[in-house]
């Protein structure tokens, strides 16, 4: 079942169009940066962008910072919202269940396919932005050559290529966990309704509300528990030394959301009448 879910994900044109669009955004930004040479001043605009003009090898991290706040969660919410509700609307849910595919297995397979999508999308963004970064911005900057191993961390100290690679991997892992929290919200709503659109929009509504509260001083009491609060904490992997506090909290908050919502989805799906 898990394998067929992944096959279904991969043969679906929508998957590849989404991945392509996710990759296109950093590419367009890179073209603008390379042609104008106008980076946002440090501390403003998306993270890392001020640094990438000097050093293109940081561009994958900058690209991640571009897609993680909005585009990636939107695509994850659409995919996970569609996962059960879409099958229900299409009528295939009943045929899968009488095949039979156990309801728990179906949920797990859906979750795994969302996970595969997130990893696929992030990997595609990292690879394409690394290539564009090297080609348009960075490759062989004198500044990079001056320091052996080249790249500087956000704190100004140099990072070796191995270090950079490991830190990038760690940020991918962290971003994936955050996206799984989005997926868990959408999957839960997807087991509640037969409307894929409703589930996706519901999940997005939760994220937008969370983002809004995160900027509101009056809501500071709930801010540590908002699902989006620590989304960009993976940037701390690029500090020297790594600033663990927000990363740890982010993992804990996401973990709680994932655990509770998956449990709720499971309980709801197991006891639900499939009338679609």
């Amino acid at each position: 079942m898990i394998r067929t879910e992944i096959v279904k994900l991969l043969v679906r044109p929508r998957t590849w169009i989404t991945v392509l669009l996710l990759c296109l955004l950093p590419f367009v930004v890179a073209i603008f940066l390379a042609t104008t040479n106008l980076a946002p001043p440090p501390g403003e605009g998306p993270a890392f962008l001020s640094a990438v003009l000097r050093d293109g090898t940081l561009y994958p991290a900058a690209a991640l910072a571009m897609v993680v706040p909005v585009f990636l969660p939107v695509s994850v919410a659409v995919l996970a919202g569609d996962s059960v509700a879409g099958e229900a609307t299409g009528g295939t849910l009943r045929y899968l269940l009488v095949r039979p595919v156990g309801r728990t297995r179906l949920l797990v397979a859906k979750l795994v396919s969302v996970l595969v999508f997130v990893l696929l999308a992030i990997a595609a963004v990292i690879v394409t932005s690394y290539l564009t970064g090297r080609a348009l911005l960075g490759g062989g900057q004198p500044a990079a050559v001056a320091l052996p191993g080249g790249t500087t961390s956000l704190s100004g100290t140099p990072l070796t290529p191995t270090d950079l690679f490991l830190r990038t991997l760690a940020s991918i892992g962290y971003a994936t966990v955050c996206m799984l929290a989005v997926a868990a919200i959408a999957l839960f709503l997807s087991t509640l309704t037969d409307s894929a659109l409703g589930a996706a929009l519901g999940a997005l509504a939760v994220l937008v509300a969370s983002e809004l509260l995160a900027t509101l001083d009056a809501a500071s009491s709930v801010q540590p528990y908002l699902p989006t609060r620590y989304w960009l904490a993976w940037i701390d992997f690029f500090r020297q030394p790594i600033f663990w506090r927000d990363i740890d909290r982010g993992l804990a908050v996401s973990g709680v959301y994932i655990g509770l919502l998956l449990l709720a989805s499971w309980a709801n799906f197991m006891t639900r009448d499939i009338t679609a």
Binding site: V7, V11, G91, V98, R99, P100, V101, D273, I274, T275
Partner: protein, 343 residues
């Protein structure tokens, strides 16, 4: 094969299925009839573990449902409320996906716990073979790579049947199996079901088409407003009525001869109350009367069903008190009015 006891399902305040004792025996071709909205589909969904009963028990292939659904379902082929698939994929790919999604082939004894049959999918060649065989059975062996969304309703219906036949099921549960097929297609599917039944497959189908059930089924259940109001052998339901239909050019003289026994005369046609058609025939011919047709009258399935059911559930009449022109005619919804789509 299937046995339910006092099966009841409520959706909120609506009782969709009410105290149904369904009994399908091995080898039956069981036709579940009833007006739209009478609860047929909900019963089938409960048998398949898709919808959970509010109360009552279900046993399919001797196992309780939904508790043992994982063990029972692999032996069942099902078509529930129309075929479905992934519209952007070709029919063959759709079948392969649905085939690969679940456990393969008929279950060996013992089920999943015993020998990890759960994880045995069968080889790729087995699966391909199974899909081709199912396609051939329903007359789709030659389908090309057009996506499902380009299929006609009849082709989708055949594909749905192919999906139901994938695992050489012991029991077929089919909801409106000939929906969307043309007369030739209906005939083909009927022959296919009869053939499978002869080979030992029990068939339970629901339909609101009386002709279909009449032509195929050996046993009939009729549902009305959530209740199973009739359940019997088709032959028993269509028992002779004790009347004989006679067509004779000498109908006038025959009527005179049979005075008192003729219930109705319509030109050449007589309806005669007589227990023995052969004796009646001998009597008429002995008098030198010419007989063009003579046959015992049987209750038609339509009469049985109309007698047992009330107005269509998709008909929404106002309660009597609220009807603007409440006359005596309106208070009594004529049972013969089967027009389905008035609301």
């Amino acid at each position: 094969m299937i046995e339910t006891q006092a099966l009841t399902k409520r959706f909120g305040r609506v009782t969709a299925v009410n105290g149904v004792d369904l009994e399908v025996r091995p080898g039956d071709r069981y036709g579940l009839l009833g007006p739209n909205g009478s609860g047929k589909t909900t019963v089938l969904r409960m048998l398949l573990g898709l919808v959970y009963a509010t109360s009552g028990t279900i046993e399919v292939l001797g196992q309780p449902i939904p508790r043992r659904a994982a063990r029972v379902l692999p032996q069942i082929g099902a078509l529930v409320e129309g075929p479905a698939g992934y519209p952007h994929l070709p029919g063959r790919t759709n079948l392969r996906l649905i085939d690969a999604a679940g456990p393969s082939g008929p279950w060996r004894d013992g089920g999943p716990g015993r020998d990890f049959a759960f994880w045995r999918r069968g080889s790729r060649r087995d699966r391909r073979h199974r899909v081709e065989q199912a396609l051939e059975r329903v007359g789709l062996a030659g389908i090309d790579s057009r996506p499902l969304k380009a299929y006609s309703l009849g082709m989708r219906q055949r594909l749905g049947l192919a999906a139901a036949l994938l695992r050489a099921p012991r029991l077929l549960v089919l909801d409106e199996p000939t929906n969307g097929l043309d007369p030739r297609g209906i005939r083909e599917i009927r022959d296919l079901l009869a053939e499978l039944n002869a080979a030992g497959t029990t068939v339970l189908l629901s339909s609101h088409l009386l002709g279909e059930v009449d032509a195929l089924c050996t046993r009939v259940g009729v549902m009305d407003r959530g209740r199973l109001v009739v359940q019997d052998e088709l032959d028993a339901l269509r028992a002779p009525t004790g009347r004989v239909l006679v067509v004779s050019p000498d109908a006038g003289r025959a009527a005179a001869l049979l005075d008192g026994r003729v219930e109705q005369r319509d030109g050449d046609r007589l309806t005669v109350v007589h227990p023995d058609p052969a004796q009646l025939n001998a009597m008429l011919t002995a008098e030198g009367l010419r007989v063009a047709e003579l046959a015992p009258q049987r209750r038609s399935l339509e009469e049985v069903v109309l007698e047992a059911t009330s107005a269509s559930a998709d008909r929404m009449d106002l309660p009597v008190a609220e009807q603007p022109f409440a006359g005596p005619a309106a208070t009594d919804p004529a049972p013969t009015d089967q027009a389905g789509d008035r609301a």
